[in-house]
Assembly symmetry: D2
Homo-oligomer: 401 residues x 4
């Protein structure tokens, strides 16, 4: 279904009709380039206000508000015109205010008090962001009312093959039925499935940075499947907010280290996505590195081009695949993507370079692991699931320096 | 003039009338706490759209777009509903796109090409942010059409006493007439003067972090003037984007250093502001420190309370002074302001603590030096000068982690 | 073997004596400035070798080897010619090699395996570095054979007044008799007491950086006691290696925060030392700040000079006090001490600056909190206690960049 | 005095001989594992003293003392028993003390004043470390007396093929005769050539980290030559101390970026070394990344094993190649080398891991780019050239945290 038809579905429900029509025509009149996307719906709170009656705004529950991805959801929703947070859970901090857990929210006095997940009341909730650790998530989501739209940021519903889940996560899958229902939320690739999903498994940060550039190239048979080497570098926030010696400032500043060499749990997720694109089993070399930075992720990907394929072909394909996308940007030829330039934003910057070894290419993609690699993409997905313009609430420019 | 009357002036001109009335009533209806400030005008682009005819949006020229404060102006204006950038200057980068200078703007394809200041055409400009280095700024601003509203981020118009300018900056003042006209733009303190100003001298970062907590306490005679000791810590972006060995990554990471001990050029600005508040000459002890962080500034201020005054009195006064302010937040008692918690935002967090030495108090204030300490406050000022709601475009929450 | 007897054994065997004479004359001949200190003994292993028979080298037990101060002791002793580590304890890591806890020691294959403190065998030990947490240390040291020389790096024996210990540490002192015996090991000030001590309470990092410049100035009545304001900045390693959310990389990078405002546990230690120097109770203002750096500490100290005293007097006194010291360096006038320039070394750099407020001065001192602020000074003390040249094993130059 | 004559003088006078015998036997007696290397000579200044008459110590000229590699040479030589610095050049800082350029040397009062290279007097010099920028170095070294031993840290003599130099450096080689004489100083691989060299071209940092693990594996035909993919990550000090916007703190902290993709000037040096090992032209994929850290370098190398070769074969070969080396350490199986663990030291840590892609392996090596990647290896080379024990002055343990 195209955006247009989606829009009209929405319009049928009468929610945004008036504004959309009016604004759409105005936008055209002004030639305003700041409004984008296929939908002309304006992503501003004013719309909500001008149309809102009690109950029409989408109400969000945030499960696991005391971690970094939870905090990032809050940051993004604060300026979101259509979503309001009505429930926030944090088991160990139940009863506290969010500002006592995250002092940077001290100005947000209208956020709900934290409750334990078991005490959460979902009667005033339309949609859920689930930011809980893998393993416990399956049980909890199984217990949620089926009328709720859910975006799960854990790894618990990402692997279609539940035996693979068991192998990599060391425990049986607790909700195999939900697994069948879950849609993998790599937005730009699976947008149409996301649109009708009730439960979206939000991709991992590494898999997002890797699949976005690779899937179009694999699908079009431009690169070989047998020799894909991925060297990824991640900021520390990807490790979460748990108290671990290995994540102390003193342990990480001013150094770099590989970790989980060939054994990182994002491997099966990456290979699932690439195998789907290839229509055959793809095995990759994947080595993540932990870097002294809070946010940011770069994947440097070394590939063998298919016979006769040139770097221009790769560049052209990525251009075609993403030229209408807001959040995936192919840079001008020769320009190196830098994590600094996407910090705090939902963008993925990509580029492709010829290798010295004949027939090989180097692909570089960068994201902010907490935004496009987690909470930003989650919001992008829920926007779509709710029929809102995809970029709503995601218009933050990168913060540099 | 109160906000109410300003609003009505504005209303008289017919610009925002309709929306304001409608939205104001709607906002009340919804009990929506997200809209704030004395004005009920909604700070969203939709307003512009719904009211805009060609030429009614305020058009901004940005002089000095290739420095950090210039870039920050761009970041803030990108999501500003009433301002559009029509001219950007950068002498050494004239002819280039902004994305070639700041790759994090690669998605902003509708920004104007950089021109040299001398080539800038101000016929399509209503207001100017001047982010040029001190020294050259006076001449340039002198040459601008008088119909333009100007916020100057340099130090060139901050010191009322031009002999003091000469003493600290080592050159005669080139525009003494303009100096008389200039209004010092510490927004929360001089808001009413800013409102009618044509030329605002935007405060320095250190002076902002220091004067915001001290001026109310000095004005109310709660602290002694003779023994104010200020130990400030700044991120490196305060030093600008010039190529200097002393600002290399390798020179600054993992260490701290005082600099300009007792001789920093912000001293006369600080003393001017505090002396004004005290109605007598105030001399302060001021020691800035350079820290291994890009953004952020903390001033730890050690003061002697006036006879009989308690820490509660200080706390209460700051509460009274700032309780209706959006951007200056007195934290709950005992909570320590952290620069992490204002990063990327226009907030100033303040608190006050009893000292071990009887009769003394410790005041801590934190800001993002590039936002409330520079470009954010500049936009706050221009919003006021243009009659826009003060917080428009400044609603970014802090970016943490 | 006690230090005294070790020393005399050495002398009796004529080892040092002869070398000293010979080397001393050679040193003069060569104009070699590298050998320093009152003793001319050469601090190199060769001496040990040429004199050593099994058992004659001083054998060290390191209690608490898995923390940062413990690791720093190991680093320093590795190149120490007279000490060998025979016992290392780490309760939670008992049975492991040190390289499994600290991979940077992977090349040190001759270090002993970690044992639990209760399993430690002290029969092959002459001296002990105790790097255990405060609270447990008193009991453990009480249980050690009295023939051992001990340098305790915890806070457990620093406060002479055991009621003060109880007040600040919230528990009764478990070894008041040992407290009476303990010597406070601020080396440059209490060297002669350290020389004959059996148990040295090694100073805290903040107190070291503060007392070194202040004690000489207080003793000579050059500064007032009533208005000493200390703003200190510390690297994160001072917080130890415990797993705490507040010390995660993501929580600390790119920001600064005050902590323990007026309540830091180093306050009574600082005031004890300054009060001793003043012969009257001194109360200070002390505000520590946590900085995004692993190592390093700066204290910026704001003082009122006594009547008629000038900045030159302060400078001169510090010059006189420290001109023969290896590890405390008064910089040339106007030169700002930077933590970068002492990183990894046992140096304390100091300087003094005139304040803008008449009659006040600003004193800046920097150390590496893990070296002069902990393990380096501990070794300096044990060298003295054992009769070894004070700087032995401490000759590392700062690591910059 | 040339090294040769210095060496023989030493031997003729029986100095080393005697010491070696005595110490060797003592070392055995003591089971002391701290002395290592093929020579048993003790690396301590005492030897110098006991043998020194004026002029017998090796005198070093340091050309280019104001850069980071120059400073690192000073740091290492300060504790070196056989070398004394008699000349230091720094053209722009001529006439200044080194402490005015590098304040961390403030305690080193006996270092010579900086002079311009053209004013340097080499009559009191036995050996030269040349830390000048590439391009100018060839002319300068051509002008030095031939009796001097020289280690050049620039790229100017690393490429045997002068046409390749011209291609990558954009200028003709100015000293082709010297190029023929120059020995490439990758110590562990070319030690015997270094021993008799007069001019050593010290390897680049990337090439050192890459060739050390790869050369033994290529020489023994354990890996394929056609598909070597190298993803390297470097600290910022590798970029030198020049004032460039791109190396400012604000530009680099909290982010990562690739640079010089496929075009970095270390490529021909790497390929020269690997081609020599392979006896055929090897072309590599090499992508360097700039990281927010001062020191440290990791190369993650992805290789195809030769047919029938296993990961065990690779591990075993590296073990055999390096088990007697002091500075190259193969870690225990499964242990990941981290740059943190070699910081400030001359060590290279290496390990090898099986890849997910059958037949491929992942090799990780880490060094401190300023030590083993530059000044440390330079000293290692000069030690060998002068007949001193190889590790003399290089015994610093890594500085962690």
């Amino acid at each position: 279904m195209s955006t247009a038809s989606l829009s009209s579905t929405f319009l049928d429900r009468g929610c945004f009709l008036k504004s959309e029509e009016r604004l759409s025509s105005l936008a055209k009149q002004n030639g305003n380039k700041k409004y984008f996307g296929r939908s002309n719906t304006l992503p501003f709170k004013s719309l909500r206000v001008s149309n809102s009656k009690p109950g029409q705004e989408a109400r969000v529950a945030l499960l696991g508000a005391s971690g970094y991805t939870g905090a990032e959801i809050i940051r993004l929703l604060t300026n979101h015109p259509f979503f309001g947070i009505t429930v926030m859970t944090a088991d160990r901090n139940a009863g506290k205010s969010i500002e006592s857990v995250f002092p940077h929210f001290v100005t947000q006095k209208d956020l709900p008090t934290l409750v334990s997940t078991s005490d959460a009341n979902f009667s005033d909730v339309d949609a859920v962001f689930c930011c809980l650790p893998h393993g416990t998530t399956q049980e909890i989501i199984k217990g949620l009312p089926r009328r709720l739209k859910i975006v799960d940021l854990s790894a618990d519903f990402r692997l279609r093959d539940i035996s693979e889940y068991e192998e990599w996560y060391g425990q049986p899958h607790r909700a195999p039925n939900l697994q069948e229902e879950a849609v993998y939320g790599l937005t730009e690739i699976y947008r149409e499935k996301v649109r009708y999903a009730r439960l979206v498994a939000n991709p991992g940060c590494y898999p997002t940075s890797i699949q976005l550039p690779l899937i179009p190239l694999i699908k079009t048979n431009l690169i070989e499947h047998g020799n894909i080497i991925i060297d990824s570098k991640s900021g520390v926030s990807g490790a979460g907010r748990g108290a671990k010696v290995s994540n102390l400032y003193t342990e990480l500043t001013e150094g770099i280290m590989s970790y989980g060499v060939t054994k990182h749990r994002h491997v099966p997720e990456i290979e699932q996505g690439l195998s789907d694109a290839a229509c055959s089993k793809v095995t990759v070399s994947f080595t993540p590195h932990l870097m002294p930075m809070s946010r940011g992720m770069q994947s440097t990907i070394y590939v063998q081009m298919a016979s006769g394929v040139t770097i221009e072909d790769l560049y052209h394909q990525l251009k075609v695949s993403y030229e209408n996308e807001e959040f995936v940007k192919l840079l001008d030829k020769g320009i190196v993507p830098r994590t600094h330039d996407v910090r705090g934003s939902n963008y993925c910057y990509v580029n492709v370079f010829p290798d010295r070894i004949r027939g090989r290419a180097i692909i570089i993609s960068v994201i902010d692991n907490l935004v496009k690699g987690a909470s930003g993409q989650a919001l992008q997905n829920l926007n779509i699931m709710m029929g809102f313009p995809e970029r709503t609430g995601l218009e933050y420019l990168p913060l540099f320096p």
